[in-house]
């Protein structure tokens, strides 16, 4: 269970890196980007 949760967390962080490298997340809207990550 712990291993799968760690894997899921790592997967979501990788998805974030992938989405950050695109121009747009998908449809005609995307969630607000966290301000702390803009710094």
């Amino acid at each position: 269970m712990q291993k799968s949760l760690n894997f899921f967390s790592a997967l979501l962080i990788n998805i974030f890196d992938l989405v950050s490298n695109t121009s747009c997340a998908g449809y005609l809207g995307e969630p607000d980007y966290p301000e702390e990550l803009l710094k």
């Binding site: 967390s9 962080i13 989405v19 695109t22 121009s23 809207g29 995307e30 803009l38």
Partner: protein
């Protein structure tokens, strides 16, 4: 709703893994919001098109949208609901017109694709108001590759409905590129005007 589910899941993951930093949690929360938001919209759109018995066109528009918009960028809605309404309208307009419109002159399409290439090479990827756009050069090259692929497919296929679907999806994408850049120019013009009003 989606934001609260994402926050709940991110907090659950942080409790189970103490090595995750605050930044990691924000990244996880953002990814979950993107996934859950897009999944919800996809399911709603899938059900609408299942009811309309136009699933093939739905998948085609979905593939074109994701292969062009993620690279070129486009207009963004401020809320989830307005995005959902715009996305449904976007899909329905393309399906409606691709079914009703006849195939036009080849010269018209050739000129359209030439203009699309010029606009894409000049403006893509357009700026995203919510976050900085990284790897602009790579995104521009990928946008041009994607456009070339759809252009080749358009001139290879004989089916009017599919061709119209490709044409309209790309037309909407190019219009968005123009709007975002013109808006930027107007915005910059206002700043320039304001700046020069304080100088000689």
């Amino acid at each position: 709703m989606i934001k609260s589910i994402s926050t709940f899941l991110a907090e659950y993951l942080s409790k189970s893994n103490s090595r995750l930093t605050k930044k990691d949690l924000l990244k996880i929360q953002y990814s979950l919001q993107v996934i859950l938001g897009d999944l919800t919209k996809s399911i709603i759109l899938f059900l609408i098109f299942l009811f309309l018995k136009q699933l093939f066109l739905f998948f085609l528009i979905f593939v074109i949208l994701n292969s062009t918009r993620t690279l070129m960028g486009g207009i963004h809605c401020k809320t989830f609901n307005s995005c959902l309404i715009c996305s449904i309208a976007y899909f329905l307009i393309i399906v409606l017109f691709s079914t009703l419109c006849p195939k036009l002159n080849t010269y018209f399409y050739t000129i359209f694709f030439i203009i699309s290439f010029i606009i894409t090479s000049a403006y893509a990827p357009c700026r995203n108001e919510k976050r900085p756009t990284k790897n602009k050069k790579i995104l521009k090259i990928l946008s041009l590759i994607s456009l070339t692929f759809w252009c080749t497919l358009f001139f290879t296929l004989r089916n009017t409905q599919i061709c119209n679907c490709i044409f309209l999806s790309l037309l909407f994408q190019i219009i968005q590129l123009i709007i975002v850049n013109v808006k930027g120019v107007v915005f910059n013009a206002k700043i320039t005007k304001l700046f020069f009003s304080f100088t000689n």
